[in-house]
Amino acid sequence: MTRSHRHETPDRLYVITSGRSDGADESLDAVTLIVAESEPTPDMQSEHAAILRTCRGPMAVVEVSAHLGLPLTVTRILLTDLLDTGRITARHPRTAPSPAHPLASPDVLEKVLVALHNL
């Protein structure tokens, strides 16, 4: 299942995305958490089914990409298909710092510090 895409030909990646190189949901951050809302069905593209199995619990986009063995760009396109059909939901980063507000909130930082100390 996790055969690396490095052994895949570009043709194979082309087929997986039906030739699309864009059209991915731009709001899908690398750490947006994906949750499956339905079970895979036999008629489904195998990559879509693999995503639904991988995301039975919340899983970041980047982690989905690693488990599928597909580049982030390709993974985002596949996730967008599933989002559009309601088979997955996405939990976007809420309090992400932005250029206008480059620093995280004190509450978030406190939480991270406590967790790191307890590691």
Binding site: V31, P58, A66, R91, V108
Partner: protein
């Protein structure tokens, strides 16, 4: 997490608690072989995973005779680990090569990061010049950690001078293989960010 599997077996999918709805990130950048993956592995609850970021961009403004845009695709691998913080939050740590030619890929990957760790070793300090400049320009909080391979008696102040590092940026020594030491680097980063937040509130 001390198993040393010799085969590239499939990683088991380790789900987060279903209540987790907030993911945070920290970037770990540095030259090749400086110990980024090692640092991530030392604190991560999963064996570091890797994937690739790909980007196609137009060439540098020279049209060819057919008028076809000169595009090239860049693919760079990076790895990551994660730490579940509590019932609702998870922290992802990204380890990525920090040389100049890769940054256009990382700007998106790192967007919204709490901050960054620039990992340096004294044999190749030059690998981190660009990363430091870029993080400063972006106003991303960062600390610099010297991964000490025991290769010499470089004082931290010598390293600070060689990097022309702002006195306000924390610089510390670490052993990326050691969990406590790696943890200390992340704590130093978050404390630094917290002090910047407190300053900004004044």
């Amino acid at each position: 997490m001390h198993s040393t599997t010799s085969e590239p077996t499939a990683d088991p999918v380790r789900s987060l608690p279903s209540t987790v709805d907030q993911a945070l990130k920290i970037a770990v950048v540095g030259g090749f072989g400086v110990g980024k993956t090692t640092l991530v592995r030392s604190v991560s609850e999963i064996r570091p995973l890797n994937t690739e970021e790909t980007m196609t961009r137009a060439g540098d403004g020279i049209d060819d005779l057919n008028g076809v845009e000169d595009k090239h695709t860049t693919t760079v691998a990076f790895d990551f680990g994660r730490i579940t913080l509590d019932a609702t939050s998870v922290l992802y740590l990204f380890g990525a090569p920090g040389q100049q030619r890769f940054w256009f890929l990382w700007d998106r990957l790192f967007s919204g990061a709490l901050g960054a760790v620039v990992l340096v070793d004294t044999r190749r300090l030059g690998d981190s010049f660009y990363a430091i400049d870029h993080l400063e320009a972006q106003r991303t909080p960062f600390v610099v950690a010297h991964n000490d391979f025991g290769e010499g008696d470089h004082g931290l102040e010598d390293i600070r001078a060689a990097l022309d590092l702002d006195p306000a940026v924390p610089l510390l020594r670490c052993d990326a293989r050691d969990r406590t030491s790696a943890k200390g680097v992340l704590i130093a980063l978050i404390e630094h960010v917290r002090s910047l937040v407190a300053e900004a509130a004044r």
